[in-house]
């Protein structure tokens, strides 16, 4: 297995496909960027899939090859952590539609030799999951000991249990929802309009001259970033403090620290993310509604998942996907008869809490995973 090129860090792979998309398109070929950690055991029973959020990537627990920054979920994944390469075979795949290695609007369309741009098909969360399943088939992974994700990663986790219930033994869905609310869609639409209103967007055909709609994407990120933080957290960190000055400027510079912080978040985001990918992935999230194909009854959606163990975690200061959304999921799982655990944890960090230092999250995930292994 040491020499098997399918396994390891920063893998890139193209599969012939086709991948049948919800939009009715047979998409091919399919590019994947992914990482694996640990070793698949002899009875192939120790695979864990980690699903990333909107702008995440496959570097879940390794240093980013370009920026050198540590992986985005090293609090949860790594030696001695709840998800541990010593015990688990861990896979993290960059989502379909992204710009960080898997097929997305900035990928080259083999039919034209140019980036897809807006000719890339509109994708859904279910399409992302089907793509992951296609890759796992290639890696020889049958069923999954666990699928774990927060935010949009949690949406993928829930979709996994509905699309492939027989392949998922345990599901951990954190800070997530079973459907995007009007408010969720509204915030995303602000972001999309900021991008599409940027003259540099040019109907998504901006790759040739390397002059992307950075200003629009930065505003989109600024609006979204607010939703990831709590009001109390913002107040504690920034309050009304001024940025590098003693008095208000009576102008429109970034007088306040929060303005300066948001501008920095927006601009630095444009260095690593593609505006069209942002459009496509936010669209996929907005289309997300697990109950829609089941007459709006979420319990029916989970009917086939009643043999999967679920762990649902929310955070008290998360107003993007508040606890009520998690309770909605839990009630549906109860009605479906699935074994489910649920807790609302306390954290000052808002929606982003699942990525940050919340020790209880680790002990809960650890206990839940070990119980699934029959070793408590």
């Amino acid at each position: 297995m040491e020499t098997d090129q399918r396994f390891g860090l920063n893998r890139h792979l193209t599969l012939p496909g086709p991948l049948m998309l919800d939009a009715g398109v047979a998409f091919a070929p399919v590019e994947f960027a992914y990482e694996t950690y640990g070793t698949l055991n002899a009875d192939r029973s120790n695979a864990i899939l980690i699903c990333h959020a909107l702008t995440g990537d496959h570097h879940v627990a390794s240093n980013h090859p370009i920026t050198g920054k540590p992986g985005w979920w090293t609090r949860l994944v790594g030696a001695g952590k709840p998800v541990d390469p010593a015990r688990h075979f861990i896979v993290c795949v960059n989502v379909l539609g992204s710009c960080l290695g898997s097929s997305g609007p900035s990928s080259i369309d083999p039919a034209t030799g140019k980036p897809y741009g807006m000719s890339f098909p509109v994708i859904t969360i279910a399409d992302m999951v089907r793509a992951q399943a296609m890759l796992l088939d290639h890696l020889g992974v049958g069923d999954l000991q666990a699928v774990i994700g927060g935010s949009m990663g949690g949406m993928q986790v829930l979709s996994w249990t509905i699309l492939y219930p027989e392949r998922v033994r345990s599901a951990i869905a954190i800070a997530t929802t079973a459907r995007h609310s009007a408010q969720n869609i509204a915030f995303h639409e602000v972001g999309r309009q900021a991008i599409m209103g940027d003259p540099q967007w040019r109907d998504g055909d901006y790759y040739a001259d390397n002059n992307p709609p950075a200003a629009g994407l930065a505003v989109a990120r600024m609006a979204a970033h607010i939703t990831y933080l709590s009001e109390a957290g913002l107040t504690e960190k920034f309050g009304r403090k001024l940025q590098g000055r003693d008095a208000k400027s009576f102008g429109f510079d970034a007088d306040f620290q929060i303005e300066s912080y948001l501008r920095h978040q927006g601009i630095s985001f444009t260095d690593r993310f593609d505006a069209n990918s942002y459009l496509y992935i936010t669209r996929a999230m907005d289309y997300f509604d697990l109950a829609e194909p089941y007459e709006g009854v979420l319990a029916k959606a989970f009917a086939a998942a009643k043999n999967t163990r679920f762990c649902v975690i929310s955070f008290d200061t998360d107003w993007l996907y508040p606890t009520a959304e998690s309770r909605h999921i839990v009630h549906a799982l109860n009605a479906a008869g699935a074994p489910v655990s649920f807790v609302e944890l306390s954290s000052p960090f808002g929606h982003d809490a699942f990525l940050l230092d919340v020790p209880e999250q680790n002990s809960i995930v650890d206990g839940f995973i070990r119980a699934g292994e029959g070793r408590v």
Partner: protein, 195 residues
């Protein structure tokens, strides 16, 4: 670690291999015992976040929820037993919670502190103040026990609802005592009910 005496009675009388919902499961002590020694498929509900986190870290299936609100989401007769230990007196509507227990579970274990125990009566008679006892250790203004009841109150309620008592156990000083004059002698009661 030994179980609280009322929980031990319940653990000893649950059919091995059955499905159990423990409402107000605390840190999951009873659930862990049922899972590990009686091969029971145990699920729990608990109001306190810290207790839920502890129980989940033990690998138990527990949801953070409120017996007064969240029981409505469980399907009819989806458990062999619903258990309510030391929780009845803390609910806003104990009557409705009991209705839910016997809707969700084919049988229900209910345990509660007996407010008619002689020590409580004597304390109230002698001092004229709300008693603070071993099983009711909190002052009136901060007690979670908002619906005190006696064994006789509970028996009357069971009769008025036409429920069947399949078992009853009485405890004083953490020891089983005979049913005679239980309303006076027992600190604590455990009932097994069905419709």
């Amino acid at each position: 670690m030994s179980l609280r005496p009322d929980l031990q009675i319940i653990a000893d009388n649950v059919t091995p291999g059955s499905r159990v919902l423990d409402v107000g499961c605390g840190d999951g002590a009873l659930m862990a015992e049922l899972r590990d020694k009686h091969h029971v498929d145990a699920r729990g509900m608990e109001l306190d976040r810290g207790n839920v986190a502890t129980a989940m870290a033990r690998g138990l299936s527990v949801i953070q929820g409120d017996a007064d609100i969240d029981l409505a989401e469980y399907p009819d007769q989806s458990f062999d037993y619903a258990i309510l230990s030391q929780t009845l007196q803390t609910t806003r509507r104990p009557d409705l919670v009991l209705d839910q227990l016997l809707r969700i579970g084919r049988r229900a274990f209910v345990s509660f502190p007996n407010f008619a125990h002689w020590h409580v009566r004597w304390s109230l008679l002698r001092n004229g103040r709300m008693p603070v006892t071993r099983l009711l250790p909190v002052e009136w203004y901060e007690t979670p026990n908002i619906h005190h009841l006696t064994i006789n109150d509970f028996r009357d309620f069971v009769t008025s609802r036409g429920l069947t008592v399949e078992g009853q156990w009485f405890l004083a000083g953490d020891k089983l005592i005979s049913p005679s004059a239980a309303n006076f002698r027992a600190e604590h009661a455990v009932f097994l009910l069905r419709r």
